[in-house]
Subunit: 155 residues, 3 copies
Amino acid sequence: MPAMQDAARRLMLDCAMALDDGDFARWPLCFTADATYRITTRRNERAGHPYSVMWCDGQAGLWDRVEALERANLYDPHHYCHILSDTQPVAGTPDSFAGRTNFLLMRTMQDGSTLPFLSGHYRDTVVLQGGRALFRERVVVLDQCRIDTLLAIPV
Amino acid sequence: MPAMQDAARRLMLDCAMALDDGDFARWPLCFTADATYRITTRRNERAGHPYSVMWCDGQAGLWDRVEALERANLYDPHHYCHILSDTQPVAGTPDSFAGRTNFLLMRTMQDGSTLPFLSGHYRDTVVLQGGRALFRERVVVLDQCRIDTLLAIPV
Amino acid sequence: MPAMQDAARRLMLDCAMALDDGDFARWPLCFTADATYRITTRRNERAGHPYSVMWCDGQAGLWDRVEALERANLYDPHHYCHILSDTQPVAGTPDSFAGRTNFLLMRTMQDGSTLPFLSGHYRDTVVLQGGRALFRERVVVLDQCRIDTLLAIPV
């Protein structure tokens, strides 16, 4: 369904911009109430290991994550710039879409230095609820097997 | 307006390819006569500072920039490779479009070494003039607050 | 032809995902039987030199490449993550499309470290055969003039 794929793609972009802008309260709103969000590594995925670097169960879990981020604030200030490649459709119906999207995440620290921080792909399942496209499942599969710093901000 | 967004997107690509190819005389032709082009930093934008790293007022200003680039030529030869992410629509009418586009700029020096040079986003206003899409305003918002070298070629 | 451009774009993505997944046997299937695939450098292209970093003549040549890759396996294990920018149309008919696409290739080694490995652009000619879009010609023009390691996996 091209319309559903377009809607899923806009959702991915809105979600990335919310994180890039540090507007974290917009991030959970990209997900359904029963959504799962997790970050894992390519190596774990290949090996079939269930281990996740980050796991949020339900939108409530996402809000917890955001609150921790805004309250605790113990990490070095930094911001992201998401570069999205194309989305490969995996499955689709008129009101759902599953696809894979490669990404590169640039990270800029407060001293102004920028480095490629993470790369990999999203495996997303997007559904329509009340006319809005929302993530029901988002799995972030990182190329990296070691993360060089506390992963504070979601990917 | 999807057609206007598509036209704006093609313009962004044409502009990036002109710079990547070192075909600088094609660059001012992407702008209206009264266009403004400026490069600023995310930090300045957030702080509301008007300071710009580069500022060109009108297409004449863009031509000045290109001539300086081709005549003075005091910089280390290098070339760019623009990687564009999706464009987020901000406003649109049948004959204008405003949007935001994340980018990553890879820079290759004459010795063949390549590094991520700049990242950030474009904030563009594109209009139709004589059937052609042209930038009326292009603001380049850099993630970096320090530029490690003279910014010779426009972004 | 927008439909042909869309089909070409999906082909580019399928080809990139096959290489990213290490599913090399899918890669030759993206090409016609009489396809040419070569990797060259921007500097060679500009100078009009015919020298190629890699050259495969016909799909048989691509299979040879894949077999060598899977049998010999003398390279340090690593995998790619392709980031594709937009495709600039160069020529098109209802059943063929030629275009240029900037790319960035991130490479992750077995120790989990990731670096930008290669950047540049594809110059593709895609044709329809039996209803499928396939590369008839793919030229990879690298920004880099030196490759810091054996180029084992195709780009």
